[in-house]
Symmetry: C3
């Protein structure tokens, strides 16, 4: 993988302005929509299952399923969304927030896993729990380094035909054959609610603009990581950092991605 491949994803994303439907938790809806807008995508969120199906049949380019504040009616909306995304050949991302910790979402994520997500995004605890390797973290916190989850990510990728993005100090992407490790980012990104969850939505946008999910997921990790580093350099506290992160996602260019993407490991 070359940095020019990742830069091309950003360029395509801004040209195509993909419409990303995020079925996500209520806590992170504003930052999810704002991060999509900042980077050049178009956000939409819905509560009604029929409207969800109709949008996916007509004009959506990507779908995020994030189970952070899952309810029974939302689970049903999500099932119908995944079916509609499959029918319309739209890429979809599963973000299994806190899987392994809480039974309802754990069973639901296993059910969705069997429907072959285009991309799975999670922290190390979540990816390991999803693969049956560990019991999961505490809420959205991970108790593991991302490297510890590479084995689980490979297993998930091979078993379900999904690309997997493990986020952490180093982000790992695998499609079951290749593994890429990206080293951009900053710890402040975990001190603002929703940056991780919004990354799932941005990953859907990047995959919609990329030649394949592996390249799209890697571009997403580089994009947010570089923007996060730049925002933290200017604003070392979380409130102003959150605004600066949006500013940097707006400002970042494909040339920035060519020059500042750091492969790790």
């Amino acid at each position: 993988m070359k940095t020019t491949d990742l830069a091309a994803v950003l360029e395509q994303l801004r040209q195509r302005n993909p419409l990303i439907l995020s079925l996500t938790n209520t806590v992170v809806q504003p930052i999810t929509a704002n991060m999509l807008l900042a980077v050049g995508a178009a956000p939409v969120m819905l509560n009604d299952a029929e409207e969800t199906e109709q949008l996916l049949r007509t004009c959506a380019n990507g779908l995020l399923i994030n189970v952070g504040t899952l309810s029974r009616p939302q689970a049903e909306q999500m099932r119908r969304a995944v079916d509609a995304a499959h029918a319309a050949r739209i890429p979809w991302v599963l973000d299994p927030v806190a899987v392994g910790l809480l039974s309802f979402r754990t069973e639901f994520c296993r059910e969705l896993l069997a429907l072959h997500p285009t991309l799975i995004r999670g922290n190390a605890s979540e990816i390991m729990a999803l693969a049956g390797e560990a019991a999961g973290g505490r809420g959205t916190d991970t108790t593991e380094e991302s490297a510890a989850a590479v084995h689980a990510a490979l297993q998930l990728a091979r078993q379900f035909g999904s690309t997997v993005l493990v986020t952490g100090a180093v982000d790992y992407v695998t499609d079951g054959a290749r593994v890429a490790a990206l080293g951009n980012g900053h710890p402040l990104m975990t001190r603002v609610t929703g940056v991780g969850c919004a990354m799932g939505a941005l990953a859907a946008a990047c995959v919609a603009a990329a030649p394949d999910a592996f390249t799209g997921a890697a571009a997403c990790a580089a994009l947010i990581g570089i923007a996060g580093e730049r925002a933290a350099a200017r604003c070392p506290r979380p409130g102003s950092f959150a605004a600066a992160l949006l500013d940097e996602l707006d400002a970042i260019t494909p040339a920035d991605m060519v020059h500042h993407t750091r492969f790790a490991g």
Copy 2:
């Protein structure tokens, strides 16, 4: 219409501190409440239909209905809210987000339209779709210039006795007899989620403080447009712009509205 009439609306709004009940989509609730607070109004949001009716009977001064993340229970809450607003003679604003694109909300907006909203706020695609002229945009995006929707706005105003505010690079207001065109604003306002939706809530506050809905809607367009221009001049990127917009809504004075309102066309 004179700029002093618009300035008087802001002055009255700050004196009266109207309580605005926003039944709106979950994505934009925080920015809606914060824009109301910044300009000098008082926000309230509710989920329960009985509480909604009780608040409208007792102390609300304006009501916003925004269908962005409409659900079946919320539609029922909204129906009861509109009935209660009529009974209490409280002005109400309909924001028909993405009408024409999705069937459930399109039927629901037509149903509400027949109840004669005090004000309808939408982008060109939404106003044209509501009037039956076009199929609507893509989510919250408009595919039309606002001028293209003036005919539809006049038709809606005349048929339903509503004032109509078409927002875009130029904002048009009509009560079916008069048309005002206002040229303030900045493209960054479309790069922050909820600025357009919050404009519906601010329009409810302005109408509650104005001698009539036409003057109130025009004051709202000028107010947000001028604040947006000033915020963009200081903060040209979307994250810091969002905070600056709230600062400018807090700072703007009636004298600013007299001197900086630009009538267009």
Copy 3:
């Protein structure tokens, strides 16, 4: 009470990183999570009652119940949460938003009151309404000075065995025996939606880190008040103030609390 006792709460909070489950209104979820993260706690929010019980049985350290956008299903989730918190001996905070104004939540808050909240946080109107002394304010606004509610706070504390935090220009804390008055804070804190509501969540975090609820509540009032003063000194308008408040909650040290806490009255 000494300022070193309050400083020790902040120190403990940062060491223990308590996990706070906030069942709160949808408007303030992002700022609630961000204020918890800024100060050093870990936020989690859930919609499903079974998941709520499971989290409280396994890893939550504190619980907030805020009725701002109460619905019938959420009331049921909250009942089960309070039972689970009692069973697990986890401190819980009741924030009776707009109690006295709307019947559904007023009855529900009375029901929860009988379950002996560890802490009750409200403005003067809410505390007086909860004690049966007055009809309540207008939405989240208080119509009374906080001193007027000290009698009601003492009565609630004695009758229900709860600690009570009355917030306003002066914040009062009582456990029925002692009363502490704290004078930190800034009026801008009422111009940003959710600062008051998030204070309930921070109070849960402080109580989880304190030797008792009285000390925890006082530490919370001092902590937010000092951060608010510092943020307002740098950023006198509400949009930039909101970001600065998070920055100051991140920056504040136990030594700051020792030197800048102001006892009032």
